[in-house]
Amino acid sequence: MSPSQDRAVEFTSVSKRFGAVAALTEVSFGCEPGTVHGIVGENGAGKSTLVKILSGLTRPDKGAVHVFGRQVSGRSPKHALAAGVATVFQELTVVPYLSVARTLLLGREPKNKLAVVPARTANKIAAEALAAHGVDDVAPDAVVTELPLALRQKVNIVAALMLPPRVLVLDEATSALGPDDVAWLFTKARGIADAGGTVLVITHRLDEIEEVCDRVTILRDGKVVGTYVRAGISRDEMVRAMIGRSIAEMRPRRHVARADRPARLAVRDLSGPGFQGVTFQVGAGQVVGVAGLQGQGQRELFLALFGALRHHGWIAVDGRPVRFRSPHAAIDAGICLIPEDRKTEGLVLDLPGRENVSLPILGTLARFGLIRRRAEARTISELLDRLAVSRTALFRLASEFSGGNQQKLLFAKWLARRAGTYLFYDPTRGVDVGTKEETYRLVSELAGNGCGVLYYTTELDELLRLCDPVLVMYHGTVSQVLRGDEITHERVLKALLGLAEDGQGDGRAGQRPASAPVQQGSQWAG
């Protein structure tokens, strides 16, 4: 069947393997022009591979992708762009050191009679484009990599919009955006669809699908479960299609701090680059939640608590005041951080599971300077069993595992330390429902054993379910602390936007504090 010229995007029997893992198997479906088409699935379902093939970054082993009849798969990003496919990626692939203007115009810079790129003209064009798309908080001559995450993402989005695209692909593009910016993005998407273009929204967030998509294709384990008209399928049906079963009812199970032991982690007036004056306590057996939109200082807070950023203030672990200037020291003090990006911050994908997991405990596994292989294998096998990961993980490279299993490897790595305090930074990001449940179980278990847990997440449901109290970060400070019955969906959402319960507040929702250039050197400790 030859690809139809009328279909905006047509996937035909697309298959792709990475080593032993089949990322995509015989994926076939089409997207019509003038629609916003969602592609949903859990992580490991193959969404990002699909996007990479569509954008020309990866070649499929089998099958092809056509855009209005023109083949874009198996070639290069240049061909995809030429066909009118503009992609906003999840991993922000910006070129460092470039200004916003040069980033927006990369590949199609203006040139004067001497073939030189005139900075002023470039800036002007960029400023006009930004204004035309309703972005008013970014200067054209700012260096993109010095901008806060959300603004960088907006620049990426505007760059894609400037193509102008016949097919706009948004690959988890909202992960860095606040609610206002998400609304802005979806308005743009709607606009493109209404004008006859096509928008592909790749996400695992069902509320986004509900908000903006006309049709939705559901992927599971690399295969297409089905393509539906969005209005004709309920959320529960979508979830069932995504995971193959219904999810368990979510009951809030809050943990209460043990009064008989000193607080696992106590922080007073902690300040660092991006946050100031933070004060809170995590009791033994308590799960303290942290909520905040992107860029409100929570990432810096977590890094500082782990010793990876310079900070000032008072920290005590298990009642003893400590000062640490490196993650090494923090770990010795009994704090572990489970970072947000398992692929680039948590695991070395090219090493086998064994070497990844034993990394923090190498010192204890060594005798006379040599690592005891048998003890290593034994310890790690126990951990893997506890987390329900196959023991083949000992020898297989971390890259050969699904996202969920990789996350479990990451947990195993830090559980080996038997620390007293665990910092979780967005652990369920891009993770399938099964692993999410495992994560919640693990957190409860840790709390049950008397550890202290500081838990940051962007999924409000998790906060409601696991955490008490919830610290809301806004503009670098803990703006509100919600306890017990105060922890409701509505209250948390309002707090995220800087609004108090009565709706008062500066309400500059979605706006980021003005940025100063990122500084290297001094604040990076360790």
Partner: protein, 325 residues
């Protein structure tokens, strides 16, 4: 290691397969070269000749360990050149052919090598200076210091025990080859079976993960450069022991081979990957190659050109290549 540990090691064979596959190719290449050598000049593959080839390869192999460590963590060490020369020159001029003096000169030279490495490490880890520039600067500074102190003329003799170590043999087996074997075992153990070795690999693969895993990255980086300096010093002293006197051009002639041996042996120039036995194979390969080229009656010029082409071929076939775009 207990017997049970050995059993676990055997059980790791599946992972060992991967390692073997990465070490084998270079040795296959060496064997091919040896056969070619035999074809060109009968008697090439005699025990005596192979023994002396392995002996000659030792110097490169030792320097390449240090260079390999630095490449493992994502850098280069251009200062091995004059560190080696420094080692030889100071050894001979201070030891003056006496074992008694050699006893304290050798540790001093090792310390000097470590100091040079320390300076490199500090520049790279603390000041974030590009390794190639930092080690280039150090190399040149050491050159200046050494030349000034000996006024341009190396003198003296290496202590007899070093001369013996590098020149004597048990029949066809030179003592130095036994040294090489021991060194290889120790070096491989260091890289594969110690916590420090593991940490070096992780730093090479992904520095962020290394830091967030609690690895003291700066300290470990500096260690890599210090060890490189020490290895260069060892190699320099051995080379001086071999020829009894020292020369000013020693180090320069080992710099590029040290890098080539590491890359041909299959290490990734981006860091993280690498097996020392393969690097040793690379050193042997280069030594055998130049021996063959010397046996054939070709001019210096042609020999140099052929070396270049062979290196290219070796990398194409065996070495790690960059990701494609």
């Amino acid at each position: 290691m207990t017997a049970a540990d050995l059993v676990t090691t055997v059980r790791n064979v599946r992972a060992g397969h991967r390692t073997l596959l990465q070490i084998l190719p270079i040795y296959v290449a060496v064997i091919i070269l040896l056969m070619a050598g035999e074809a060109i000049r009968g008697g090439f593959v005699s025990l005596g000749n192979v023994g002396s080839l392995l002996l000659l390869a030792t110097f490169t192999a030792v320097v390449s360990f240090g260079q390999g460590l630095v490449i493992l963590v994502g850098g280069f060490d251009l200062s091995v050149a004059w560190t080696m020369t420094m080692a030889g020159v100071f050894l001979t001029s201070q030891a003056q052919g006496l074992n008694a003096r050699g006893a304290w000169v050798v540790p001093l030279v090792l310390a000097a090598g470590a100091a040079i490495g320390l300076v490199n490490g500090l520049g790279v880890a603390i000041f974030d200076i590009a390794p190639i520039v930092m080690t280039l600067a150090t190399n040149v500074v050491v050159q200046g210091l050494v030349m000034t102190s000996i006024s341009g003329t190396p003198s003296g003799k290496a202590p007899p025990f070093l001369v013996a170590l590098t020149n004597r043999s048990w029949g066809w087996l030179p003592w130095l080859v036994v040294f090489l074997a021991c060194f290889t075992v120790l070096a491989t153990l260091f890289l594969r079976a110690t916590p420090v070795g593991r940490r070096l690999h992780v730093i090479g693969y992904n520095r962020t993960v290394a830091q967030l895993s609690g690895i003291p990255v700066r300290r470990t980086l500096i260690l890599a450069y210090v060890l490189s300096g020490v290895c260069a010093a060892i190699a320099g002293m051995l080379a001086a022991g071999y020829t009894t006197t020292s020369a000013l051009t020693t180090g320069d002639s080992y710099l590029l081979p040290s890098i080539a041996a590491v890359v041909i042996g299959g290490a990734s120039i981006l860091g993280g990957r690498g097996h020392y036995p393969a690097t040793v194979g690379g050193a042997i390969f280069l030594t055998v190659l130049s021996a063959i080229l010397a046996a054939v009656n070709l001019s210096d010029a042609v020999r140099t050109m052929i070396t270049g082409v062979v290196i290219l071929l070796a990398v194409l076939v065996i070495g790690q290549r960059e990701r494609s775009h």
